[in-house]
Symmetry: C2
Subunit: 807 residues, 2 copies
């Protein structure tokens, strides 16, 4: 068990005293106390809030050990000072660490260090009064074994309910907000924003429903910032009708007619739209007409609901209770996404219902907004940021798409997000088109919607896999230059749904914008990380948003490392770095020879493989993608002759791969069409972290009394395996120059191809081998035609270029 806290704010002693007073640990009775035993007792008494009488408190004290032989009650009765050792013996128990497992009463400080818990300054073996106050301060800021600070664990027991109804502004501790706003008194209201667009072409501006939760105190003058989650899934999904649109991927790759397209030929330009006039406002009110019982929520937002933030969920165009059509990520969707922000800053109107045009203003808003959410939600946060919209101070984009081509396509190929072969932009549009869930609404727009879906299908062009105007309209890179919000990115290095290229391009694409940018790279797949034991993600975001949205000078920008990467070898290990995928990183250049990757010179040679499998093998892999992937890594018998594998000698020292590995091949196809796939592999026996987190305890995580809970999670080690894919990539041999221009491909002629694989950050251990697998059909991602194509690689004119982390 190891703790990693990045959001502890260094705090001057006087500020510590001030904060301890504000949260009532220091009061008129104990602040002048000169006896450390009495002072400590008063702290403990305030912390044991479940014990309502002195007898009950005494009883509880006796259940803690202060020394190897004395319980806490005895210690407080007999000792004349608070020893550092006794304090931390008790602290470790208060933090739920276990003397049978995590520490020994003989050496608490050694355990504190090992678990990476903060030990307060002290001059001697006993704490002085100021040292003890400071030690209590730091204890409150320290994470316990269940993944939350001691002060948050007290919050979950009800410590801060005494502040309910008595605060007029957020209460802070160590630079972060505390849950002092009663979540059961939240105002829940619906408004309909008039968005400056008519995406369903009905001649009226689209009204978009937003669900707002704001502290009751806003009714009495408190102005609050907003955490806004734009979630197209939020109002329901059409799983069955979406499933029906899924495309068949068991189809052959086809030859494409070469062309001479330039970017200008396919560049997207916003059409000049005839925008309908705004509605004529027919009155104004401060009171909403519609409420809701339970929003579809993100648990990180729940955490902030008692801390003085409002939360807004909006699903956008084409969703239940809103107008418009789904478009899967184009400018219309971006306009839809930011309309609520413009309402919050006073730049767009909203109405209490869809009928009578009575305006309602965001009179409770402090006009500062952050966006949160993962995947499509994070994507829309990124999209919103690219508009530079006023009021959007920061986006926290988790596992976000930065260009939809990088989600559904790659290198001139249709490439599925892992686990969803056959999904495409039209399927996603249908799945999220929750207007369908309201038959009375859907009845009127059915035909127009059918046309819209057909238009998306035509635009996405599964036949070519090329980058075209449709995808250019869904590429946020083009507008990175407009980003003025600070950007907090989170991505899984094993996310093969939204692949890491999406975040790497954002990371490296805004370095000259003058905004603050942070990134956390974890070892998971497509997941949230806000309830992990080994990293204080909620605290980090709390520190961040307290700075960004409340304008508190809490040094968040300086305290939070720019880059935090979870170690892929050691569990519970997160490390701060200066940068990721820096263009100046040094590289190793590996040559290919037989089955070797080598830095030596190599002789002239070729190697070939055919894509076509025996029908039974093909069917097995088609139906069991995981079996295919594990057979590919171990070079299973069924794949002999169907892949090329190259490995280095066992490494003599650890390598820290950092950035985009590049594959440079001279290759021919036996046909006038072809595709190649690549996997870079860590070969070596090891127990590796599972990419899906384990639930350590269900619903155990609460940071607010009697409020919503979350599962406590952690990445744990799986069974020993002999290999692990580090990264991968794909290319259509007819898109050697770029993704929009189709090159000629003559059978059995050698061509140079150069492919940047998905960016990574990976520690390859000494004695392991780095490997490259070259193959064609990727059963998890490409089309699967089982075509009789032979590929030949001119090995001596091929190479693998591996960037290494360079300080």
């Amino acid at each position: 068990m190891k703790n990693n806290q990045f959001a502890i704010r260094p705090t001057e002693f006087n500020d510590q005293l001030k904060e301890l007073t504000e949260i009532d640990f220091l009061d008129k009775d104990n602040s002048s106390e000169t006896d450390t035993i009495k002072l400590w007792t008063s702290f403990l008494s305030k912390a044991f809030i479940e014990d309502k009488t002195s007898t009950s408190f005494e009883q509880k004290l006796s259940t803690y050990m202060a020394t190897p032989t004395q319980n806490l009650s005895e210690y407080l009765d007999t000792s004349t000072g608070v020893s550092v050792a006794a304090f931390y013996n008790v602290a470790l128990q208060l933090l739920k660490f276990n003397p049978d497992v995590d520490f020994s009463f003989d050496e608490p400080l050694a355990a504190m260090e090992k678990i990476q818990l903060l030990i307060a300054d002290h001059q001697g073996d006993n704490f002085t009064v100021p040292e003890l106050k400071s030690a209590w301060y730091w204890l409150l800021a320290t994470h316990n074994k269940d993944g939350q600070t001691f002060v948050d664990s007290l919050a979950s027991k009800g410590y801060f309910t005494k502040f309910y109804g008595k605060v007029t502004k957020p209460l802070l501790f160590n630079g972060k907000t505390l849950p002092v706003f009663d979540p059961h008194k939240l105002i829940r209201e619906v408004v309909y924003v008039e968005s400056p667009q008519d995406s369903d072409h009905d001649g009226k501006r689209d009204l978009l429903k937003a669900e707002i939760l704001r502290p009751y105190e806003t009714e009495h003058g408190l102005k609050v910032p907003v955490l806004y989650t734009a979630s197209p899934y939020n109002q329901g999904t059409n799983d069955e009708t979406g499933e029906k649109l899924m495309h068949n991927v068991n189809v052959p790759l086809t030859h494409k007619e070469p062309n001479n397209l330039k970017y200008e030929d396919i560049e997207y330009h916003e059409p000049k739209a005839d925008l309908p006039n705004p509605r004529v406002i027919n009155g104004e009110t401060k009171k909403a007409e519609e409420t809701f019982a339970r929003e579809s929520s993100y648990t990180l937002n729940n955490y902030f609901l008692a801390r003085g933030f409002a939360v807004i969920y909006m699903a956008g165009i084409g969703t239940k209770d809103s107008d418009g059509f789904r478009t899967t990520g184009d400018k219309e969707e971006t306009i839809s996404t930011i309309s609520i922000i413009k309402w919050l800053t006073g730049d767009l109107p909203a109405f209490t219902n869809r009928i009578d045009n009575i305006e309602i203003k965001a009179w409770w808003s402090n006009k500062k907004v952050a966006m949160t959410g993962r995947s499509y939600l994070g994507t829309l946060a990124t999209a919103a940021a690219t508009t530079g919209v006023k009021g959007l101070k920061t986006v926290i984009s988790e596992a976000a798409i930065s260009s939809w081509y990088d989600y559904y396509r790659d290198g001139g190929l249709v490439i599925a997000p892992d686990g969803f072969p056959g999904e495409d932009a039209d399927v996603l549009a249908e799945e999220t088109f929750s207007r369908r869930l309201q038959p009375g609404d859907f009845h009127n727009i059915k035909d127009a919607w059918d046309k819209q879906i057909k238009a998306i299908d035509a635009g996405q062009d599964r036949n070519s896999g090329d980058y075209n105007t449709f995808w250019d309209a869904r590429n946020y890179h083009k507008d990175f230059k407009n980003i003025t919000a600070d950007v907090f990115m989170v991505h899984g290095l094993n996310d093969w749904n939204v692949k890491p290229r999406n975040v790497e391009r954002l990371w490296n694409g805004i370095k000259h914008n003058g905004v603050t940018q942070k990134i956390i790279l974890h070892q998971g797949q497509h997941i949230y990380i806000n309830a992990f034991r080994s990293i204080d993600y909620s605290d980090i975001i709390n520190l961040w948003l307290t700075y960004e949205l409340l304008g508190v000078d809490n040094q968040a920008k300086e305290i939070i490392p720019n880059v935090i990467v979870q170690d892929n070898v050691k569990p519970e290990t997160w490390t701060a770095y200066k940068d990721w995928s820096n263009a100046d990183n040094k590289v190793i250049n590996y040559n290919l020879s037989n089955d070797k990757l080598t830095t030596q010179k190599v002789n002239e040679s070729t190697a070939s493989f055919t894509d076509q499998l025996k029908p039974a093998d093909f069917e097995l892999y088609r139906d069991n993608n995981a079996t295919w992937q594990s057979d590919l890594l171990v070079g299973g018998k069924k794949l002999t002759g169907h892949q090329l594998t190259f490995k280095t000698e066992p490494l003599t020292k650890d390598l820290l791969l950092d950035g985009k590995i590049n594959v440079n091949l001279k290759v021919s196809s036996s046909k006038d069409l072809g595709m190649l796939s690549f996997q870079v592999v860590d070969f070596g026996d090891a127990k590796r972290l599972n990419v899906s987190p384990s639930i350590l305890s269900a619903n155990s995580l609460a940071s607010t009394y009697d409020w919503r809970e979350d599962n406590l999670r952690e990445f744990t080690l799986g069974k020993q395996t002999s290999a692990k894919m580090i990264t991968k990539g794909h290319i259509n041999l007819q898109n050697r120059e770029n993704n929009y221009k189709v090159d000629e491909l003559k059978p059995n002629i050698f061509y140079n191809v150069n492919v940047d694989l998905q960016p990574t950050f990976f520690k390859l251990k000494a004695r392991h081998q780095l490997g490259l697998i070259v193959y064609a059909t990727d059963f998890g991602m490409t089309v699967r035609g089982n075509q009789n194509i032979e590929y030949t690689v001119q090995l001596d004119q091929s190479s693998l270029i591996v960037p290494l982390h360079t300080n």
Copy 2:
């Protein structure tokens, strides 16, 4: 999608009107309404509680379709009567069914029937006023697509919050309680019951902590019943120190010295204990001194917390904040378990803390108690029932042990609960000994606890596997005769942790007690079923407890079928039966011949197998029990010569197996020791239900506004498989007569063995084959010695006797 509701109470029209009035759907404004359109509109208006104005309501109406061409708003404006079709078109939408998937607006009644939803009586195509009131009543009682009644879905939206603070007794609808007690105002208090025992031998009666949640209204005179969950896990567990005690199962089976033990020789007799005197009571109070923020809860209990029930959790002897030692299911634990019931009925004292002997009475209790919980929790409920303790009206024992020998042993063998090889009574005692989690308490009892663990280890006697005095002390069958509480059983037919024998013995063991007994057998493993979509379990228990604890004459005993069994072939299908495992069920007697099960006469023949595997195969199966199990079923190559498999011809018609299949073998061992294992198998290609439920939607299930949520679950079909184990059993060849007497076993001599397999209820489809597999080492359950033993079966003197469901 198919609905199964067993808890709908037939209700006279006048009672329907009364209830509709009580829950405010009928009021002074609409109860005399003669226009059905206006009446329906008023019902809808009350149901759409999120819409606070008439405009907002109008807007919502327009999102529903009433006919294939008219939305509900248009329909209400233009129609002169409420057609049955329009009513159910809207009803299906209100119940969240989807016109793209579940029904068509042309034929709503056909869909209602297909989904098994109740259609109200009607004479014509349009509802009359009384018919419409009745139709609304039944709609409220009907389950929606998300597994809850429409009235509960309204509750989750806040419909019943208007009753908060205004009711003085539970509010009922259709015989079941409604959530009218504000769960955020619950009183949470701790008491310490003085139990008449001294299980840690410290010279003082054990004080046991109980956590109580009761409606705030009890402070003002409301007397409430209690749902009591006795959960030894509830105060925390010692996973690491428990793990250390796990026993090695990779050990050989050993020869046992034959004996002539009779039951009297090993029978357990309660020792005459010198019980310490009760504490001298030092005063009395009505107010507790200790509270708690969050109990470790069972979601079914959460559901009842807003419905006028108190809930109590107690972990019992040897747990955190309590006295005593863990014993794993003996009489001491039973005494501990029922002590809180005796407090609730006034027969035992409790104190506000452990120190000053101030008594606190259960002055708010109506003296009626039900016990709830699964596994060990359900076991303690069963144990409590065997005492006949006053006040315990019913136990709901889910997946409960009825004899600990049937949990950790079988047929003279150590048999692990599936998934936990090496676990035993001592391990469980250590795991649940949460006094260890309070170092200040544990420090004083460490040595005594070490002795206790050693004594349990000695008593459980892993060397013999025999039934002995230790296990006799943990056999609740002996006291079934004392059960006076009604018993509601729930068990998984695929529960190989607490095996079905446990519940079958209880089911058949209390038939002459004169109590009401109900049982639900599902197709899952060791799980809860209170959040499933296809069965109204929470409603059933609501009906049951409203009858048992509130004394309401709601016909629960008559309405709830005695036996409900989930179909193993068709998803979402639950069927009522009269009995399970009835001794009078007819049987088929199969003879064994070569690899056949046949009802024909067979010729003299033998078949042999050896237990010993190649070391590599042994290690594979030792480390991958699931691989072993699937290889066993398909007769994998590695197991050739290591098992015998017998199959019937493909069946010509379905068979409904019901009860205990019996294996009758004449068999020899090549050594003076031996064990046999048996699996009865359904051979035939089919998609079968997964034994672990799928989560349909996380945290989507709430039946109370702004209160705790649950995951909606359902058993779904897995991939096609060729075989499935139906049931299994084991025997030590030295325990041919019974589990306590050791028989001699001479090498290569044939002996008769007769084994009742675990009871089942299984539909075997026509064209499938029934199979029997005979083998020795069961990698998931027995010791694994990989011994060189050959077993030979005299086939013509062996048989398989299969009971069939007989009406």
